[in-house]
């Protein structure tokens, strides 16, 4: 077996006296699309945010390939360059156009030239179907369009893994499809993805593995078919029963 892209070992995270993660172990292989499911408060988003150190783990290890991101003295910014993240609330930079959003980190973090950054930005915006919106400001774009710009912005950094944190939850239903379409294409192109979502259809269709979390631990994991159609754990059954 090759080296996993992301490896989480016995991850614990507490916010004050509240223990959110109680020992999470997870490995994501190259090209895998892992979907994390679970009721709210189960720790799925926290797990995702620990992967690029937006949350600092209380204990345990988080590895990106051969670098431990939560080791003391680790260059977190350097590691983050290789991890793309898309947020529920888009978090586009409102003072920059769509193209400007995609270019900024390329220029300042990767040190690409203006021309190169612009070429890549236009390329990525074309991929998410927003070539004609490149000069628009975020406030002039719909939620779905903003989220696709956010995906383009992350992809422009040539990440080795993409994290999606409930990226469709803030969208109107009719806009969800466009975003999921982009994510699906990305998956088909072989991108390694770790996805927290409530979109069961997407999970079933695209995921190579589904993980069910509850109470700060992974309760069940397996192929989407196995987890969705033949859940072994009672809590999984209960959860799936509630949403479908």
């Amino acid at each position: 077996m090759t080296q996993p892209v992301v490896r989480i070992v016995n991850l614990h995270k507490s916010f004050g006296s509240l223990e959110v993660l109680k020992g999470v172990n997870l490995e994501v292989q190259r090209g895998e699309v892992v979907v994390i499911l679970g009721p709210s408060g189960s720790g799925k988003s926290t797990t995702l945010r620990c992967v690029n150190h937006l949350e600092e783990p209380s204990s345990g290890e988080v590895w990106l390939q051969d670098v431990q991101i939560n080791a003391p003295g680790a260059n977190v910014n350097k590691v983050r360059e290789h991890i793309g993240m898309v947020f529920q609330s888009f978090n586009l930079f409102p003072h920059l156009t769509a193209r400007g959003n995609v270019m900024l980190a390329q220029r300042k973090v990767l040190g690409r030239t203006q021309a190169e950054a612009e070429r890549i930005a236009d390329e990525q915006l074309a991929k998410v179907g927003l070539s004609d919106r490149a000069d628009h400001y975020p406030s002039q774009l719909s939620g779905g369009q903003q989220q696709r710009v956010a995906i383009a912005r992350a992809l422009a950094m040539d990440p080795i893994v993409m994290l999606f944190d409930e990226v469709t939850s803030a969208l109107d239903p009719e806009l969800v499809r466009d975003v999921l379409e982009v994510m699906k294409e990305l998956a088909l192109a072989g991108m390694t993805m770790l996805v927290v979502t409530h979109e069961m259809g997407f999970a079933r269709e695209v995921a190579s593995r589904a993980v069910f979390m509850d109470g700060g631990v992974i309760v069940e994991e397996g192929t989407p078919e196995a987890v969705f159609d033949h859940p072994q754990n009672d809590r999984t059954k209960d959860f799936l029963g509630h949403i479908s």
Binding site: N52, L54, N77, K78, R80, E81, I83, G84, M85, F87, S89, N91, L92, F93, P94, H95, L104, A105, K108, V109, L110, Y137, S139, Q140, A150, R153, A154, M157
Partner: protein
Amino acid sequence: MGHPNRRRTLRLFSLAIAGIVLTCAFATQAIAMTGAKVTVDRDTGGQLTRFTFAATSGQDEPVTRIDFLFPEGFDPADAKVDVTLLEGLKRLSTSFEQSIDPQTGVVSVMFDAPVPPKSNYLIQVRDVMTPIAGGTYELPVQYTVEASGTSSPEVRSVSGLTFKYNTPPREEVISRWLDSQAWVKMWNSVKVLDLFLKPQQFVRAVPLLFAGWLMSLSLVLSAFPISIMGGLGTAFMKMSKVPPVRWLASIYINVIRGTPLFLQIFVVFIGLRTTGLRFPDYLSAVVVLAFNSSAYLAEIFRAGIQSISKGQFEAASSLGMTYWQAMRYVIIPQTVRRVLPTMTSEFILLFKDTALFAAVGIFELMLRSQNFVARSGNLTAYVVAALYYLIITIPLINLVGRLEYKLAQSEHGVTAPTGKRRARGGVGPLSGPDFDATAAKHESR
């Protein structure tokens, strides 16, 4: 070349001539009026002026008549003459008649009886209209000495009597013109208008207060850029992860915001001076203003930075940006747009606060208007000062409104219909709990 002897003769001859001329000069001096001078009681032209002629007559000069030959442009048509004569310390009561020739500008004083020699003359010619153009003028004076024995009456003259005044400034001319206008008299007959909006005082105050306005403006324009730097620095200190740095910023901010600017001015201008530290007034003033304003701007900036959603910082971080890169390229540009209205308000407050420097003798707008009022006994200068302040503040107040509107528009999307109403209502994007500090300042000042 001539003969040596002839040359000597010539030299002697010229010496003799010079001697005679000199002797004659001294002789005339001895018998003529001495200590003659002319003074005027106004320092600008174009107005009724009193000319005072003072002189002492010579030993053999019983004077019967004195003529003042006013130069061209001077109008003595309505002049009145006062005469005071002293013989030693004794006042002479000689009656006289005056005559005026408006064509030639000659004012004559004819004594009924000859004035005894060696008398002191003090003659005042009042209400002579002077030409407006300033400069040095000469007033030739002639006097007639009574006939004695075989000699007939003799007219002697005193020359070289000069006086000078300046051309009045334009506002002075306008003000005098206003004095003569009927509508101005009517206007001023209303007591309130006369006290607060007297046209004559208005035109005088405008140019006089202009320098003060420039001073106030220059103080605030020098201080504000320093405040922006200081405020930004302090804001970052206040958000520092290192507790002592944070405490230091907090102490500074709280002490400055918790004490009156007036007190801070006194500490610097009077307190520091008694300890022997003395800086130029202007520098001290700029430093106090900058120091004061930095504390307020620090809170404005801090609140502005913290009002940017945490997601912005996370998005920047997740793209691999460092803390300072995220600040520089993502947070600060958004903050600037957000704090621009509040910053402008702070600028307005600071500009108005320059008035406090009147108390320590900086000649800014307020002190100048105060002086003007004290001198004229009329309050119009305060109204002029108010207008000078408003010239700056009203456009800026409008600007704040427009900036808030634009900001609301850009943050809520161009299509959002709520933008305008929210901006007008003063419910800008910054009016969260974070901005209570700023609101409190508006009330307390």
